[in-house]
Symmetry: C2
Subunit: 247 residues, 2 copies
Amino acid sequence: MSIPGRNINPTISVDCVIFGFSTNQLKVLLIERSFTDRSGIESKDYKLPGDFISINEDLDLAASRTLEEMTGLRDIFLCQFAVFGKPDRISNPVDMEWLLETTGLEIQRVVTAAYYSLINIGETNTDFAIKNSASWIDVKQIPKLAFDHADIIEQGLIRLQLSLRSEPIGFEMLPEKFTIRDLQILYEAILDCTLDNRNFRKKILKSSYLVQLDEKQTGVAHKPAHYYRFDRYIYEKHKKESLGFNF
Amino acid sequence: MSIPGRNINPTISVDCVIFGFSTNQLKVLLIERSFTDRSGIESKDYKLPGDFISINEDLDLAASRTLEEMTGLRDIFLCQFAVFGKPDRISNPVDMEWLLETTGLEIQRVVTAAYYSLINIGETNTDFAIKNSASWIDVKQIPKLAFDHADIIEQGLIRLQLSLRSEPIGFEMLPEKFTIRDLQILYEAILDCTLDNRNFRKKILKSSYLVQLDEKQTGVAHKPAHYYRFDRYIYEKHKKESLGFNF
C-alpha cells in the first residue's frame, strides 16, 4: 500500500501488530487486501498495517505514519519487538504479484521491522475502522493472512504475554476501578488460558500496587465484589527496588 | 568486513553485542578497525562483530556466521533484540570511506539487526581473541566506536539487565555451586550498581529455585559461607504457574 511517486526503500518495511481489548476479548487490527488470483477470480485476504519505508525515513516514524495512514490511529505507543527477514518471506505468487501491482517493482526480498501495541478498543475513535478496510479480528479467529503475517502476529502475541507477566500493562485496559474478576478476565484473554480463581486472587493480591477501595459493586445478583485501583507510584517505587522474578 | 566477491545485500546488516563475564567484570567483545583518516594518518577505533547479509541469507544465520568468522566463537545463543535504522547512521566520513573501501560500494543507508548474548569468558576458547583483532573490553571503558555502535551496546546492555531481572540468566556465568556473595557480585556487575548486602540476600533467598547445599566454603579467612545451586526444574515449574511481577 505504498504511495505512488513516493521514493521507497523496497528492501525494508515496517509492520504493526495492534492488539485491542474489548468486551473481554483480545483482538488484532487487520487490513483487508483484495487481489485477482491466477484463475482471474477476485479474492481477498488480510494483512497487517504495514508499508515500505521511504528513503531517509526513520523506522519508528515509518511505523507511526503507516498505522495512521492505514487505520486512522495516531499517537499510539509502538514497541519494536523483532525483525523478520527470512529469505523466502515473499514466495507466494499472490504476494509477489500484489507487490508488483502496488509498487511497480519486482521485489524479491523484504526485511520487516515489527512493532506491537495494546490498546483499549473502547477508547479509540470507532470511525477509523471504516477507513481502508481496517477491522478488529478476534485473535482466536484469524483468517488467511498475506506474507508471514501469521508468524509476526504469533511472535507479537508471545511478546505481549511476556510483557503482561513482567509489567502492569493490563491496567490501562480496565476502568479506573475494577474488580479482581475483571482483572482475571483480562489476564485470561491475553494469556489465552483459564486461571484458577482462588490462585489468581491470592497471587495478584500480593502485589502492593493493587489498592483495595472502600467501594463495592452495586446492583449485582451475586455477592458484591470490592473494587480495586492500580497505584502507579507504588509500582514504580517497588520496581526500582526489585531484583525481579521472586517466587 | 565483507568477503570479496560475496553477493551482499548492502542495505541490511547484522551486529552482535557479545557480553562476557569474567573475574567479576562485565565485558563486551569488540573488533579493532584500522583506517586512514582525512589527513592521511593511520588511525584505529573499534566496532561490533557484524557484516552485511548475503543475498538470500537468513538474518539469524548471518549473525552466527559473522560472529564465527570475526571472532572464532561458535554455537553461541544469539538473541535478536532490536533493529537500528536511523537514516543518518552512516554520516561520519570515516565510516563512509571505510564502507567504500571494504565493499567497493557507495553505501548511504544500512538497517542493522542487533543480537546479544551473555557468555562465560572463562569457558570459551581463548585462542579466538587473537583472531581478527577481537578483544574483550570492560563495558565501563568502551573506546571510540564506529557508526552507532555505542548506542547499540547501550541498548543491548539495557536488554541484558532486563533479562537478568526476569530470567535466571546469571547462573550460567557461575560455577555449579556458588555463594550468595558470588551471585551478588554478578548482579552488581551486570546491573552496574551496588546492592545492599542484607536486602539482596533476603530477596534472592525468596527464590525457591535457589537451593542451599550442606557444603560450606573452606580455607577462607572470614566466616565460611554456604554454597547454593540453581535448580532449573523448580524454576521452570514455578515459572509456568507464575503471573510474574509479584512483589
